[in-house]
Assembly symmetry: C2
Homo-oligomer: 344 residues x 2
């Protein structure tokens, strides 16, 4: 505990340069930050044990979907990097959704959620898939009917939201899920250890990859604690990728802002745990990480990476795999006589 706190303090302090550290490490510290060892503080939604535990149950409860078959964990599987390893997610009625599922891991550090940033935080995000007809296809009313039918859930909402006249609300469902998700962070990747002062945490090759990553300007969009997730950028600034990669029908953030300049603009995704989360891009069209890097280089930077440089950048990206959260599968309350039946 003491160690975590000290390291956390170091991160929060965000010391831009360490005396005696090599130049690359100091340059890296100007662009990136290590993942803290403890979940962040959510101002509107303080984490409590009761709330996080409730959120863990909700996250794994397939009864949040109309069919009773799909839980948050279906598309954001904590056993596989917080994603579903699908091109685009598959939901209610075996329908394919429009975009690749972003990882839930470290999502709490993103400025907003979804590829187009249409949800300001994880609580707002959590309300989306529950109701989307191609995802869980439920409604707030049904969700409350389902959860309210089980005495254990009613009691747990009471304990997670003490003092509230009616603790079982759709807002509180979302807040509990957000609280659990805020704990899903992956500190202690080799790159974090490097940022925190252990220069041996990256090999010579990985450091060269980091050097190229910084030099070529990748960190311009993929910076900060998440190496991404901090801003919106047009996809295809310098060279428009193939339609399969950037489908003309999905105009990204334009759908949220209705502003011409937001056409084909997306939130830069996090590169944290990128090794675990193929396929890549909002279209999920690219399964190979080297290929995804090549496409980014040409589309966003207008450059072609040499074979060796590409390999080194990929080598660096593999140092972003952090310590995965170990989560016990929650034991869910049994149906009661009034629990709504699954609806396929």
């Amino acid at each position: 505990m003491r160690r975590s706190s000290i390291l956390l303090a170091l991160v929060v302090a965000a010391v831009p340069a360490l005396a005696g550290a090599d130049d690359l490490a100091n340059r890296a510290r100007e662009v990136f930050r290590a993942i803290p060892f403890l979940p962040p503080t959510l101002e509107r939604n303080p984490l409590t044990h009761e709330k996080v535990e409730l959120g863990r149950m909700l996250y794994f409860d397939p009864r949040l979907s109309a069919s009773g078959l799909i839980s948050c964990n279906t598309c954001h599987n904590l056993g596989t990097g917080g994603v579903d390893l699908q091109q685009t997610s598959v939901g209610h009625g075996w329908q394919r959704g429009p975009r690749n599922a972003p990882t839930v891991l470290n999502a709490v550090f993103n400025i907003a959620q979804f590829w187009d940033g249409r949800a300001g935080d994880l609580a707002q995000q959590a309300k989306g898939p529950v109701q989307a007809s191609v995802e869980m296809n439920s409604t707030p009313e049904r969700t409350l009917e389902v959860l309210g039918s089980m005495a254990e859930y009613r009691a747990r909402f009471g304990r997670a939201f003490p003092g509230e006249a009616e603790p079982l609300t759709f807002d509180n469902v979302a807040k509990a899920v957000e609280a659990f998700e805020a704990t899903l962070i992956t500190p202690d990747a080799p790159f974090d250890r490097y940022l925190l002062g252990d220069e041996e945490a990256l090999s010579a090759g990985e450091r060269k990859g980091l050097d190229a990553f910084v030099d070529q300007g990748c960190g311009g969009c993929h910076g900060g604690v998440n190496l991404g997730g901090e801003g919106y950028y047009p996809f295809g600034v310098l060279e428009r990728p193939a339609d399969a990669i950037l489908p003309p029908g999905d105009k990204g953030r334009y759908g949220v802002t209705n502003t011409a300049e937001d056409q084909y603009v997306f939130k830069a995704p996090t590169l944290r745990n990128i090794e675990l989360t193929p396929p890549y891009f909002h279209s999920g069209s690219i399964w190979s990480l080297p290929e995804a890097v090549e496409i980014m280089a040409s589309a966003q930077l207008g450059i072609e990476l040499g074979e060796a440089e590409l390999a080194r950048v990929v080598e660096f990206l593999l140092t972003l795999t952090g310590r995965q959260p170990r989560v016990e599968l929650p034991l869910l309350p049994p149906n009661s006589a009034s629990t709504p039946r699954p609806r396929l």
Copy 2:
């Protein structure tokens, strides 16, 4: 540990009567046995830590299905009593399977697996859903291609099946899953504590329910450690239930043996954790436990239970909910470049 071993010894010894115990408890001990605190020994498949851990990974890995969406845990969810709370299971392409998913909990104690007993053990069982077109819709070849594409799985098969020239085989996939499933037992239910000598573990009402259960002959089919799972019986011996409950098209064990007398014969399901596993019967047509008990009474025993007696039997059945296994969600190996893509 010492406590478990002593209790286990007690169970294995299966003392038919305890001196000083009341008559009901001794009668119960003639029909039922407590769930042991430790998994049983599998003669053909000794449990090892490596094998159980590998099995846990396979159990939760959706890449065992062609779509990459369905794992063992999808239909045998360890958060919901080892079942999916569906009338009949839903698999590949959102297709409904023909029968209700039996619980994986304590399944190791059944004489055979599936409602018709067509698999002699859990390893044989595990091979079924992986290949069934309405379930995971994969093949042994694809399974080995998927698992063989990941270095961590290859290494783990080597450690789980040491000394074998080719440890990664479909048989060993099934054996690892069986080993994990053998650990999914639920000891320490109130009824187990009662059988083991704690007469206060059941309330007066629950004991009356047990009395009725034994007196009416329910234990004839629902006896042993699992209160069921030990034999095959015709459904509708004395009164044929409605077609919705016993669909004419599903002739049960007849499909396995082709013997006329096996028409509408099914393995008596376990009543362990029955509270957690609605809906009931192979058809999954009944969601209410009291209603299921009434149907059994009329169909199998030709009797009508009075309201009070029915309530007491149900009360007794609720004492069969044991300590649920606490399972950590496994962290699965990342896809490699050669991992087959999901196939919807």
